[in-house]
């Protein structure tokens, strides 16, 4: 494995793998995560190597638990790291704030934002503001090499200044690969010891205010000793033009590239520690420039800081930022070139002309869909049929969606999710709707991973406050969308211990639900029957639809050289054609002559199409 290669070597690493390598070089002993793209590969890489290296790793139930677990390790004297995506920080924020006061260290908190929302349905969040609220030092690398170096440095800083350090990543850093120079790995197995310390841990008022004062003083110390240290985290590249560009993270590379392509040579202040920001360095940099442009992705975080410096140091300068560079979506070199053209008042590129040219080329959409054979497809198919059989109109059934592979149900052909908010919110909001409406059925779909993560309080709440909500838990044994990570339903945890999976129907019963059913979505008739019963009643239900993630199953079969079952179309039955196509399985296709066929490379043999049209479809018998 590349992340475990010995030092003095260059290997290609993904930004997220570079986080892991940096942590290993710093001597990390304890790692936790909850999966979420673009941060998923950090945890997945620890998962692959933890046992071999001898360190501890866990997939925690959610991000709040993950940060708490890692803080516990730091309180016990172990070097710890926790990683998650930006939304994870929202979930973890209640613990994120106080552990800065309590000096959880050595500890690194790695958070990946997702400009352009490539892997995020909920909002385009700029997590840098959290550094402000929590008063935590923040480091932002621009590429995988820096990610490795800065992660290591973050641990050193955390240890020296007795504070957790916030490592802020973005999709384009996390998901870029490049050759990375390696040093030696220092991590090895270690046990810690918790040291009682009344002064440190007493955060009841009035002592809490002492702790806050200490945090603020520490931040000033870090400003002086780290942030203002020229050429360390923050550095200046002198240019020949009288124009200054202040930038951070991956935007730095877009600036460099744009200057090269555009043929200009401004001075660049690259800020890798924006909290605490290097006020004197910024003032010094701006002083002799004619114009200053702040280039950053998402919000005007740096720009505001620069404008405050301008005020504080009484410098009269023109500062540009979000007036020239978009705050929506991830940045590209093109954006920076456009901004430079304005500032230099030269026009060499016209991207809008090109845009006109390809705008009128319509390419049929290829929205993501369930894998062939996915159990979610069967569950939604059965639900749809049950609704139709009962003569329920779609507008009379409110369907709460949630986060996971099953949110793809919002797309055609099923369109069986009316809203998707954030993990667990589907259940909570559906309960609110159920309490508010009459003559509408309310059904909430939630995955097993999401249920454990943030669905249990909502399920308990719906029971206690007595709404006639139908909750459908899609239990495929994994947190699948982010890469089939194990969750509390799995038999084995990340360290390979056989712990026995927790059954969701047992939880529902323990919460006091009377109508609890478990269905096998691949048994279409049975599944339809249960949905019919639930929809026809006016009562609370919990239905667990249980079948393993098909992708995980197929991978297991392939690794053991076992055959995957296949189905094929034996007869072209006219009245079946549309029915088959509307299943929306990628394996079911139509040829030039209008005949339906099943692509034998793509079919993963769930048998849904066979149950829908037994006259047309047959199971393939291996000879």
């Amino acid at each position: 494995m590349r992340v475990l290669e010995s030092g003095n070597k260059k290997v290609i690493l993904l930004g997220n793998e570079a986080v892991v390598r940096g942590a290993l070089e710093a001597g990390v002993e304890f790692a936790t995560t909850f999966p979420g793209t673009p941060a998923s590969e950090i945890g997945n890489t620890f998962y692959k190597i933890a046992k071999d290296v001898g360190i501890y790793f866990e997939y925690s139930v959610n991000e709040k638990v993950a940060i708490e677990t890692a803080a516990g390790a730091a309180f016990s004297g172990l070097k710890s790291i926790v990683a998650f995506k930006h939304f994870g920080l929202n979930v973890a924020s209640d613990t994120f704030m106080p552990i800065v006061y309590l000096q959880a260290s050595p500890m690194v908190i790695a958070v990946a934002d997702d400009p352009s929302c490539w892997s995020s349905a909920q909002s385009e969040q700029d997590s840098r503001w959290y550094a402000e609220i929590a008063k935590i030092p923040m480091i932002e690398p621009s590429d995988p090499q820096e990610t490795k170096d800065f992660t290591k440095l973050a641990f050193e800083m955390s240890e020296k200044y007795k504070t957790p350090v916030f490592l802020r990543l973005t999709t384009r850093v996390s998901h870029t690969k490049m050759p990375v120079e390696l040093d030696e790995i220092k991590s090895k197995s270690k046990k810690g010891r918790f040291q009682r310390d009344w002064e440190r841990f007493n955060n009841l008022p009035p002592h809490i205010l002492e702790l806050k004062r200490m945090v603020l003083e520490k931040l000033e110390k870090i400003r002086e000793e780290v942030s203002e240290k020229l050429g360390y985290l923050n550095r200046i590249e002198e240019g020949s033009d009288n124009i200054g560009i202040i930038t951070s993270g991956v935007s730095y590379h877009y600036v460099k590239e744009a200057c090269k392509k555009f043929g200009v040579n401004p001075s660049i202040l690259k800020i890798s520690m924006a909290n605490p920001e290097p006020k004197k360095m910024i003032a010094e940099f701006i002083k002799d420039k004619d114009v200053v442009l702040v280039v950053e992705e998402l919000d005007d975080y740096l720009e505001r800081k620069v404008k405050l410096v301008v005020k504080e140091f009484n410098i009269q300068k023109e500062i540009h930022g979000k007036d020239s560079i978009t705050g929506v979506g991830e940045l590209r070199v093109e954006h920076v070139i456009n901004a430079l053209q304005k500032i230099y008042n030269i026009s060499r590129f016209d991207f809008s002309l090109r845009k006109e040219k390809y705008k009128n080329i319509e390419v049929p959409k290829r929205f993501p869909t369930f894998c062939p054979g996915c159990p979610h497809r069967s569950t939604y198919y059965a639900f749809k049929v049950a609704m139709e059989e009962l003569g329920l109109r779609r507008e009379d059934v409110v369907i709460g969606g949630d986060i996971g592979c099953y949110m793809l149900a919002i797309n055609p052909p099923y369109q069986l999710a009316d809203f998707i908010i954030d993990m667990g919110a589907g259940l909570g909001v559906s309960h609110g709707i159920a309490k508010s409406v009459e003559n509408q059925k309310v059904v909430a779909f939630i995955g097993d991973g999401t249920f454990y993560h943030a669905g249990m309080p909502q399920l308990l709440n719906a029971r206690f406050n007595n709404s006639n909500l139908i909750t459908v838990v899609l239990d495929n044994s994994y947190t699948a969308m982010t890469g089939q990570q194990p969750n509390p339903g799995s038999d084995v945890n990340a360290m390979g211990e056989k712990v026995g999976g927790v059954k969701i129907e047992e939880i529902a019963k323990a919460f006091g639900y009377k109508n609890v059913a478990v269905i096998n979505p691949y048994n279409l008739k049975e599944a339809i029957e249960v949905f019919r019963k639930a929809l026809a009643s006016n009562e609370q239900w919990v239905i667990v639809s249980r079948a393993e993630c098909r992708l995980a199953m197929v991978r297991r079969l392939m690794s053991k050289d076992l055959k995957i079952p296949k189905f094929y179309v034996a007869n072209q039955v006219e009245e079946c054609k549309e029915k088959l196509m509307k299943i929306g399985c990628p394996a079911i296709q139509m040829d030039e002559n209008g005949n339906v066929y099943i692509d034998q490379d793509l079919c993963w043999g769930c048998g849904l199409c066979f149950q829908v049209c037994p006259q047309a479809v047959r199971a393939k018998v291996e000879k």
Partner: protein
């Protein structure tokens, strides 16, 4: 060589991320600076998948600029059209002819467009369009289409699009699949066939 800007794209599940990693490693072995970007996310599940590969003397951004691709390697015809914004006169398109119909067409019982329809649109941007019968070739060699990605790399290198030597790509294959000799053997075989076919296409 100053820099090469390459788009590699297709449909999630076609082995595009593997191809990207192999080419990045081969470019590093060739002595270039290299960066790749994966523009994906929800798109793994049979959605459109777009990746960028840049290598040369000095590489900053991992993303290719609009109109700045030297080559576009598309593993699926419709997907070739989806990334046309990166193409301009200098761009060479290498497109696998194997069609994967998107669900948006199949559930509406609509037909997949003709290759000529796609080509006509691509030609508004560049005249260098090479159709490669990769998946069918690979099926002949191995019995299935899985190694289409490797064949396309071979074809591109054989055709001289990338300025990466076949030997370095072969070493990248050996590193990536270390310990799995059967897979290495089959991939090398497919790769070499791709190189040969690319060379003879070049003439």
């Amino acid at each position: 060589m100053n820099e090469k800007n390459v788009i590699i794209n297709g449909v999630g599940g076609q082995g595009i991320l593997t191809l990207l990693d192999l080419l990045a490693n081969a470019a590093m072995l060739q002595g270039y600076e290299v960066k790749t970007a994966e523009v994906h996310g929800l798109s793994q599940r049979y959605g459109a998948l777009e990746t960028h590969l840049r290598f040369g003397e000095k590489i900053n951004s991992s993303l290719v600029m609009e109109g700045d691709a030297d080559s576009i390697i598309s593993l699926e015809p419709l997907e070739a059209l989806r990334v046309v914004k990166y193409a301009s006169k200098k761009t060479v398109y290498l497109i696998n002819t194997f069609k994967i119909a998107p669900i948006s067409l199949t559930i509406e019982m609509k037909k997949y467009p003709e290759l000529s329809f796609i080509e006509e649109r691509l030609k508004r941007f560049t005249s260098n369009i090479i159709w490669v019968d990769a998946s069918n070739k690979v099926k002949e060699i191995t019995g299935n289409t899985i190694a289409t990605n490797i064949y396309m790399a071979g074809f591109a290198i054989g055709y001289g699009l990338l300025e990466i030597s076949p030997g370095n790509f072969e070493n990248a294959i050996r590193e990536r699949f270390a310990g799995k000799d059967a897979i290495i053997g089959q991939n090398l075989n497919v790769f070499r066939r791709g190189v040969e076919d690319g060379k003879s296409k070049r003439g």
